[in-house]
Structure formats: C-alpha cells, structure tokens
Symmetry: C2
Subunit: 500 residues, 2 copies
C-alpha cells in the first residue's frame, strides 16, 4: 500500500479523498445546522487571501463596496418570473420575529409575532439591490453604478459538500447599472476577465471562459458567462459567473433614467459573483495524496520554519537562528507583500510538525537543526515536490532565494494543472464517441462538441450526467458541421463535462 | 439664520441633524425591509477602514478569523438560561425552507417544508460557537482558543436608527476559551484595551473603560466590560463590550478539557464585539453643522483635489497639475499607508464640489486653479476649520506637509472631543443634584455617583431615562460614602448618563 498521508488516495476514492484533505488541513467541517459549514481558521485565511486580491481587482476596475439587507420580502422575488422559478424553491423563510416558551417550557415561534409578509434569506440580491437602484438612478448622470458586496447567502440544498455546495456560503456579488446594452455587455465580459485572470495567476487554476447555453443560464439573465476549470478527477467546476441581465431586472425593479435628450429609458444591468466554492476548486486542482497543496499567492504561510533540537541549550541557539531567518524573510517582498512566515516551536515531534505542514499545504518547510546552524545552512522542502526531496540553502541568502522558489512553485502548479486540463480535453464528433468518453464513472474530461439548441434535454446527457459547461469564447463552428445529438446544422461548439 | 449645510443644526434638533448628516454624506439609508439599512459606498468605506485596523489589532494579539453558521437551532438558545431570556424575545425565526405558489399564484411558505426544529438568525453566536468548541477542545494542549468572526447578526428591534440600532448589523465577535479564570479575565481586559486604544487613536473618540453593573450585563456573562463615549448632545454611547463569561457558557455547551494531571475541568470563556454602531458614534463625536467630519485615520479619502478652470485650454493644464499632485501624495505615507487622494473632475460647479467634500467629511480639500498653477501653489481647506478658512501651500512640498496636517487634524479632533467629554463629566453627591443634572431633555453628561446595588431599578432612573454606564476601571469609593439613591454604604463609583 502506498505510504500517503491521506487515505483513501485520489485513485481509490476521490470524493472521500476530498473530505479527508479538508479534515487533515483543518479547513472546515460540518456544523449541527443542516448544510451549513464552519470555516476553520486555516480555510478562512485562504478565503481572506482570495478576498483581498479580488477586492483590489474590483476597486482597480472602478467598483466600490456597499452592503444590502440579508432579508428579502417575498413580493420582491415575484417581480422577475424566471428568477422566482429559479430561486424560490430553495429558500430559508423567516415567518416570525419572536420566540416564547410554550406550556412545556420549550421555545416556539410566538404566533403573535407572525410577519404579515414573510422574508427570505437572500439566495442572491438582484431584487433588493434593484429596488434601491431604482431610487438612486434618475438621470444618465447617475450612471454607471458599479457596486459590489461581500456577503453570506443561503440556498437550501439537499445534498451538500464542504465548500462545493453548502446551504450557507460566503461570496461577493457585483451589481452594476448602465445606460446602454453595449456598456453592460462590456462590463459583464470585463469582470469575466477579472475572474479568469485571478483564477490563473493567483489560484494557478486554468479556466475556459465561455457563454452558457440557454438551459444553463442564471434565472432571469439574457446571457450568462462562466469560467470553467477541470478538476483532477476530470470533472468540471463552474468557478465564477458573470451575467448580462439585459433590461429584465431593470424592468422588474423599475430602474429608469432620463437620457441627455430628456427621454426616459430603461437601464441595463449586470451581476457577477464568486464564492467560497473557489476553495473547493483550489483543493481539487492542486492537492495530492499527502494533502492540501496551496499556490504561494494564497498560502496563509509561505514558509514554516521547523526548529530541530535535542536539549535546552541547543533549543536557545536554534530558536534564535530561526527568529533571525524569520525576520529576514519578513523583510523580503513576494507578490507585493512581505513573505509570511511561522516558526512552529510547539513541543511536538519533528516528524509530526513536518507532516502537519505538508498536510496543510505550506509551500516551503525550512528545517533548522544544530548541524545546519554550524554550517550556516537550512534544509528546505517544497510542497510541490516529494516530501523527502529536500535541498540545502545558505541561511544568509535564503530569504532572497525564497522569492524565486515561491514564484517557481506558483508557475509550476499552473503549468501542471494546465497540462492535465489539456490532456483531458478532446474534440468529439459522434454520439458514440461521446458516450464512451463519458462512460467512466469519474469524470472523463472536457469534450468539445458541435451542438444545436435541439440538443437541450437530450436523454444521453441526463443518463450520463453530463452537462454543457459553456460555448468557449472565440470558438467557431466548422462549416457544414452537424450537431452530434440531433444531426441538425451546428449552431455552436459546446464544451461538455460531468461537473460539480 | 445660520448659514449651515445641514438643517436643522445640532442645537435645533439633534436627532434630525444626525439623520441629515448621514443623508448629506451619503453614508446609509433605510431599506424596504423593516429595521434593515443599506450601507452605501461612503459609509461602507469607513467600515472597511475600521475593519482593517481592528483586524490587524486582533491578529497582533494572537487571534485568528473563522466563520460559523448564520442560523442557530432553537435548542441551542435554551442551553443558557439568562442568555435565552436576554435574546429570545427579538429573533428572526426561520420556519420553512421552500416557497410555493398558492391558488392565487402568490408565493407562500410551502407547508410541506416546515422545519422540525425552527432556526433563528444569530443575534450573537456564543451557543453555536460553544457547540463547536466543545468538539475541538479535549486537552489543556488545545487551549487557549482565540478566534474572531466578522459577520452580520440580527436582533428584531422595534425602534431603529441608522447605525445606532438596526435589526441587521455588521460586527465582529471574538470568542475565546481558556484553562483558567485568570487567563480569561486577562483576555477580556486585553480586548477592552484594544477597543479603547482603537477608539482613541483611530476614531479620535475618547472612552471611559469600565465594568457594567449587574443590571447591565450581557445575558449569561459573569462580568461585562465596556467602553463608553460621550456624544455632542451629552448622551453616552456604549461603543464596545468585552465579556468574561466564567464557566456559564462552557457548562451549557460542554467545553471540558483534561488538565496536565489528567483531570477533567470545565473551561473558561470570553466574548467581545464592536459593530457598525461605531459609525454612529463617529458621526456624533465629530460632525458639525456643515456635515460629517472624519478623522483622517478613517477617511476613505484624505485629500480631495478640486480642479478649477474656465475653458478647455485651462482644463488640460490644470488636470495635468492635479495628476502630478495626486501622484506625489500617493507616494507619501500617512499612518503606515499611502495618502488616499481623489481628483473630483466631474462637470459640476466648483462650489457644489467643495460643499460635497465638506459634507462628506474629507479632511483636506485642495483647490488648484490657473492662478495657483502660475504661482506653483495650492489652496487648502481643512475640514476641522471654517469652510472659508483656507491656506496656501507650495505645490511642490504640499505632499510632505500634508502628513503633518493630517496628523494635526487627527490629534485636534481627539483633543476637542476629550475637552467636551471632560467639561460634561461631574461628580454628583445628592439625588437632588442628580435630578437637576439630568433634567435637561437632551443629554446632561456623565455623572460620577456613589452607588450601591440597592439602587438597581430605582424609580428616578426610569423616570429620567438615565442608566448606569459603568464602574470606571480604577475608580474607588470614598471611605464612608453613601449611595445617593439608597443611603446605604456605597459599593462603587458608577458613571451614569442618558444613552443611545
């Protein structure tokens, strides 16, 4: 049996491996509230790193943050027909505002406190934000509105999985209003680019940008754009979406403006979001059978220093040298900020500490023992290499060299994930090949297929549990190509996959 | 009539002035959901500045962030008797998880989706976090646990006021677990110090640190500590609290650990929080009859540059000079980060732009017109001085000088607020003097009074709407002093005030 820190391995049982990686890295766990997770400090620190980077990108593209109410009146949900159909089925509904003790002394909702109009916990905020925007927008001078909110949302899910699908999750939702359709489309695509660049340069997770087919659109959107990544089990993950909402929500909410000619027009809106689901994608893109692998750009610690000593005298000298090294590292800039370092001076066995750093995905482990101290060196393990595959560096120059090593790890992770994705992306020209490509219970990969709208709802797709992920941006249709499902002339090239 | 940007003035109608300052600065507004506010971009940027500074302080004192569920099962609330009494009366209760259309096509909670056990939206998270801690703590080696969460919470309030009292609000809640009572008390007081230092050095809002009298404690706490500030209308604002929870919540949640001798002990816990209410305190501490006044440490913009020109030719030259100045300012460090600058190049009258900067509380307004450009100077208005009281600076050296001016504004605001507080703090030795001190409808100030527990519930207090704010830390009782309410031997010196 393989000597791995995580059991089962990816090969043996991918879904269980995923749960075990989360447990071993102490990222999150289930709570007593059905479908709601607790995000533990190591997982939350990864989310904070994501937030900080995304927030900077949103602000650099002219957006400002705001905060809108958690609760949405039922009547708001009813305003947009497709939207209510898409979201009303899975909402937490607030019906009372007070508890009281019943005759047995148990707390129950006080019937006298029943709300006239029930409220739902936001599954997404188009309707409540649209209501406010309708008040704020009068003239073309008030446009564009470019706002984002960081918030929790809730969708009652029957089958949940940590990070990937939870009833409550954390996300950001951008909501913008524009004077013209073109401006709104440009915004939608600009934010898709922001997400794609973040995914590739920060998460080291390659993505395909594309437009959703009609059956996979956000309820109420004219067009939904998506970034799609391929996990190690060859299933796809929708990692972020950006919606061109046309005038649908503006009509429902009454967002109108006077144009320069003094005529009233209906505005054009967009919305776009990514969530804590990204952490699930991060785990499944890079982690291995020894646990979490974090790209340096998102690692809460870049370097964990592991002091090694046998007695108190050694301890003092070693810890002093570790402190010096930590200080050097913190004085060094990686990706625009000081290198993040922790000295693990807990009273535990060295092997246990080293394995914990591995399972938590810390990019660099630095061992410093009496021999290293005498030689002025440190012994360094990289998380993207084998755990025994360590290399000696001069302690005096390690801080400077660390920047290069972290940069290399970041780029290697992207390269490896991209190779995996490309190796598992195929062009498929017949339904038979399609069937055999996806016959494998786990994954299969990305299949590029000539498609027509008539393929929506095709029985093969439901049976194989394969869905259209997107029409990749820039993809074209071969002249004369036929839809592999219907035989009709192809309307687009669609990327298909099994998905999370 | 006074020529003020805000009407009514503080003198004329303080509560209305408060609402108008918020409106004029575009900080927040009421939403269609009862008691829930929308925090608009300028208000949210102030909150982000507060968050960033507090979060750094929490991390510097060894705390890590995590995230716990929004919803709490009813049975959890019942675990701690005083806690349920204090919080169960004002909760949003989730009873269903699905909506459906009724016979008239209206959305209603689907009766088939009724929850077996209703859930409440967290009014505070001691119980759900305690439940998780009980799972995580086994041994003294697992202690202390030092966690914080940034979250939204909800308390159903009948009378709400923007920032000061809203049904939903944003806050942070720290929750820690310790092996000994002493350690927990030390933590409680350490975080009180963090809050007090933040209030004074960042918000420029002086506070009195103290312990709450028993009637004002957090439901379930052994001791509640508080920071209390005095607003300009001489009413107090409780700005933050830190609770020593003893073993009450640890018993209720079952947080136990094996000590080094292998014996089982019950742990000791604390909790502490500040919220968006701080923004209300900030407004009422510094703002004047021209609108919001922001201490530079929390201003989303330190400097707003106002270009002045008459034609396109002037415009190009002026905007170029403004860009140069903005670049210089951004290259300059104030309070550990680059100076935040915005050039207001909107096509509006100069007076309108200048007044907007004043009403929004921007610390420095910098006018740059053709004459300034010719002379190599800029014309600078300080928000803490009269709006006509402007001063010329050399453009080339202004960036460096701005740091000193911002530092001086920050310290002047604290000095002014401290003088106001001290001028309105008195020692009171008789019930008669107490009555006349608080006879004024608005405020009165802080009254230091010899007090005994028997005074709790005294009719004078209810009638005057005066409450004990705290027993100031370090305060003593004069030998032989008598409680002014009961005549019994005094047990403490208590600070009384009307309050928000």
């Amino acid at each position: 049996m393989a000597d791995t820190a995580i059991k089962p391995t990816r090969q043996e049982n991918y879904p269980e491996w995923y749960q075990e990686v989360i447990k071993a890295a102490d990222l999150a766990e289930n709570s007593p509230v059905r479908g709601c997770m607790v995000i533990k400090p190591w997982g939350y620190a990864v989310w904070e790193a994501m937030q900080r980077d995304l927030d900077d990108r949103f602000k650099a593209t002219g957006h400002v943050n705001a905060y809108f109410p958690l609760l949405i009146p039922l009547s708001f949900l009813e305003q947009e027909a497709e939207h209510v159909e898409g979201f009303a089925k899975e909402c937490a509904v607030v019906t009372h505002h007070r508890l009281k003790a019943n005759s047995e002394g148990k707390l129950v909702p006080d019937p006298a406190s029943a709300l006239e109009e029930p409220l739902v916990i936001r599954p997404t905020s188009e309707t409540i934000i649209g209501h406010m925007y309708a008040k704020w927008v009068q003239s073309y001078r008030d446009l564009p509105i470019l706002m984002n909110q960081w918030a929790n949302v809730m969708r009652w899910e029957m089958r949940t999985r940590l990070f990937l699908r939870t009833a409550e999750f954390l996300w950001q939702e951008g909501h913008t209003v524009h004077a013209t359709a073109q401006e709104a489309v440009d915004e939608t695509l600009k934010m898709l680019d922001v997400y794609a660049d973040f995914a590739e340069t920060v998460m080291a997770m390659p993505v395909i940008k594309g437009m959703k087919t009609p059956d996979e659109r956000f309820p109420g959107a004219v067009d939904t754009y998506t970034i799609e990544a391929l996990m190690q089990d060859r299933k796809a993950l929708q990692a972020g979406t950006s919606h061109f909402l046309g005038q649908n929500f503006a009509k429902a909410s009454g967002i109108k403006f006077l144009n320069p000619k003094g005529e009233q027009e209906i505005a054009w809106t967009t919305s776009w979001g990514v969530s804590t689901r990204l952490i699930g994608g991060l785990i499944m893109t890079h982690s291995d059978d020894d646990g979490l692998v974090l790209p340096p750009r998102l690692a809460p610690e870049h370097v964990r220093i592991l002091p090694i000593y046998k007695n108190d005298q050694e301890r003092a000298a070693i810890l002093e040298a570790c402190d010096r090294l930590a200080k050097d590292l913190r004085a060094t800039t990686y990706a625009g900020a000081p290198i993040r370092v922790k000295i693990d001076d807990r009273d535990l066995r060295g092997g246990e500490k080293s394995w914990q750093a591995i399972k938590q995905g810390v990019p660099l482990r630095v061992e410093m023992g009496p021999r290293d101290l005498a030689q002025g060196s440190v012994f360094v393990g990289r998380r993207d290499q084998g755990h025994k595959d360590k290399k000696s560096f001069a302690a005096a120059t390690f801080a400077q060299e660390a920047v290069g090593v972290l940069t290399e790890i970041q780029s290697q992770l992207l390269k490896k994930a991209t190779a995996h994705r490309d190796q598992n992306t195929v062009e498929i020209e017949s339904l038979k090949d399609f069937e055999s490509f996806f016959a494998d219970e786990h994954g299969g990969g990305f299949a590029r297929v000539a498609w027509s709208k008539g393929a929506i709802g095709h029985e093969t797709l439901a049976r194989l549990k394969v869905t259209p992920r997107c029409i990749p941006l820039g993809s074209t249709v071969e002249p004369g190509a036929k839809c592999i499902f219907t035989g009709a002339p192809a309307e687009a090239t669609v990327l298909f996959a099994k998905s999370y």
